[in-house]
């Protein structure tokens, strides 16, 4: 492990016990204008997207791009192989028709659409990532059990140790601590 960044403050973490208080806290942080922050929960909380001010995921664009690439690639492949590169007339049928090229193009649409989704998601989430500062935090393991954590990164332009701590306290967070990188 590189030691150059270790020990630097990474984020301010606060613990919450109920979905309701978390939603309220998320709204406060959203309205305060923070950008680099996240909420970690042991189960899905309905309405959290809205409370955090999250927009719809951009991953759909990767799916669409993958899908259209797959479809065009399928058509192009069948056309190239059957009409240009190695023509074999069968049953009086045309050497190329979008009709018989369709099943292949359709399957490739799905395949590359799925690849687009998966790798687009990885790209947007900056995955794979083998190390995360939060995993060092002793209390954070409760996130898979019964506690909810709000994490505001120090890299956020609005971050200030005193102000952000005050905001989290005001929102009802407990065990507010600095997590080191």
């Amino acid at each position: 492990m590189s030691t150059s960044t270790a020990g630097r403050p990474y984020a301010l973490i606060a613990e919450f016990e109920t979905p309701a208080s978390t939603l309220h806290a998320a709204e406060l942080i959203r309205d305060a204008g923070y950008k680099r922050w996240d909420v970690h929960t042991p189960f899905p909380i309905h309405g959290l997207d809205g409370a955090m001010g999250l927009r719809n995921s951009k991953v759909g664009w990767f799916t669409f791009l993958g899908g259209t690439t797959g479809f065009s690639l399928g058509m192009l492949m069948i056309w190239w192989m059957g009409k240009v590169d190695y023509a074999i007339p069968v049953g009086g049928k045309p050497l190329f028709s979008p009709i018989f090229a369709f099943p292949v193009s359709y399957e490739l649409t799905i395949l590359l659409g799925a690849f687009g989704t998966l790798f687009g998601m990885f790209f947007l989430n900056r995955l794979p990532r083998h190390y995360h500062p939060l995993l060092k935090h002793p209390r954070f393991r409760n996130v898979t059990h019964d506690r909810i954590y709000v994490v505001i990164e120090c890299a956020d332009p609005k971050f200030s140790d005193a102000e952000t701590r005050k905001l989290l306290e005001h929102a009802g967070g407990r065990h507010i601590e600095i997590v080191e990188d």
Binding site: N56, G60, F100, F102
Partner: protein, 415 residues
């Protein structure tokens, strides 16, 4: 439970329609009815009238069967999201007796009409000179046609009304046994539905060209029907939300969910329609291809292209995004477009027999559409106004609204 009581009391008794809209079904049915009457009275119009009537009948049958399917789907999956809009399905499906009445002219044509005016020409063909008819004689004889037609209509009337009866009973009793009964009806009904719809599509539409083969045909009609119905349900839901009756129980996500179903059937229809075409195109057997050859002549070619780009690509691309699925300004025109597309689709299936040279919209088509549409709308509104606008005591309602209702007492004996 306090929550469901509060929901029930918040609901107004019925929808208030703007005056023009309230009178529209009546105007449509009177104007359409006069036109249709002319079609019956003038002998030279008889044949066109029979085809126009069949087209309109198959169109509104799509809506009714789509409604029945959505009820069955709801109970088969024990869905919670569609509880608030289930009554819309039930009232659409309960138009089944009206559809049985609409079937009468078709029945009369089949039984009475001579070869020059008959819809179903195979009834006037001699099986000993017609191999295709000989092979299909078990189903394709006048007696079977009449009996099977009446039986499937009776089954639809029974199933649709059994569902609505159980649903309305639960409004009063709140008993879980009603839900149980509807599940049994759904589990048995899905088989009845699949078989009866396929038989209906074959007997009334496919048998116009009885020499043809397609194992896809029932599914093809089904896919288009449910697509049309889901789009229609979206608009009715939006209207009932804005005018009040459904306001207390609808969530924004309900529109997203209906939109997703609409999207799914957009793709499913295209998949089925393409598969049917693809298999026949690839096999290249004259007994099968003649059906499509007829439909690639004249302006029917254009209608075929309209099916690919208008019935599939346009809605597909529009519905990809979440925000368009929830936008009224996109979805309302799209639902109207779905009506036009389904009309063209059914015309593509029925009309080339009468007009082999190309696509024609005859004024009798419009009259029959207006008459049946007006009557069906009146029937639907009457049913909707007579009963609570959404299931009052459905056990899944609270869950649908995001309210957590804990069990009265945890399991595990006395504590």
């Amino acid at each position: 439970m306090a929550s469901s009581a509060a929901i029930a009391s918040a609901a107004p008794a019925s929808a208030e329609f703007p005056p023009i809209l309230a009178r529209l079904p009546m105007i449509l049915s009177v104007v359409g009815g006069l036109g249709a009457l002319l079609g019956i009275l003038v002998p030279s119009l008889h044949k066109q009238f029979a085809f126009s009537w069949l087209l309109a009948f198959m169109f509104y049958l799509s809506l009714m069967l789509g409604g029945l399917f959505l009820i069955i789907l709801h109970h088969l999956f024990d869905a919670q999201w569609s509880v608030p809009i289930r009554r819309i399905y039930e009232h659409i499906a309960c138009c089944s007796p009206l559809l049985a009445v609409f079937f009468v002219p078709i029945l009369v044509n089949a039984v009475v009409a001579g070869p020059e005016k008959a819809l179903f020409q195979w009834m006037h063909s001699d099986p000993s000179h017609d191999h295709a008819l000989m092979a299909k004689q078990a189903l394709f004889n006048k007696g079977s046609w009449v009996v099977v037609s009446l039986v499937v209509l009776a089954l639809w009337i029974f199933w649709t009304h059994a569902f609505r009866k159980a649903s309305l009973e639960q409004d009063k009793s709140g008993s879980a046994s009603c839900t149980r009964r509807m599940r049994v009806l759904a589990a048995s009904g899905i088989f009845v539905f699949a078989l009866s719809l396929t038989l209906g599509a074959i007997l009334w539409m496919k048998s116009l060209q009885w020499q043809w083969f397609s194992t896809m045909y029932g599914v093809y009609y089904f896919a288009g029907s449910v697509w049309l119905t889901v789009g229609t349900v979206f608009v009715i839901t939006m209207f009932l939300d804005r005018s009040g009756p459904l306001k207390p129980v609808l969530q924004p996500v309900t529109y997203h969910d209906i939109g997703k179903l609409f999207f799914a059937f957009t793709v499913f229809y295209a998949y089925i329609a393409f598969s049917q075409y693809f298999l026949i195109w690839n096999a290249n057997i004259p007994e099968e291809t003649f059906w499509y050859v007829l439909r690639e002549k004249g302006s029917w070619w254009g209608v075929g292209m309209l099916m690919i780009f208008g019935h599939f690509f346009l809605p597909f691309l529009l519905l990809l995004r979440i925000d368009t699925k929830m936008s009224f300004t996109v979805m309302v025109p799209l639902a109207a477009w779905a009506w036009l597309m389904h009309f063209c689709d059914l015309s593509f299936n029925i009309m080339p027999v009468l007009h082999p040279d190309g696509f024609v919209i005859h004024w009798l088509d419009l009259c029959c559409m207006a008459l049946m549409g007006g009557l069906m709308a009146m029937w639907f509104i009457r049913g909707f106004k007579a009963h609570p606008p959404f299931p009052q005591k459905d056990p899944r309602m609270a869950e649908c609204l995001g309210i957590h209702v804990s069990a009265a007492k945890p399991h595990g004996g006395a504590r």
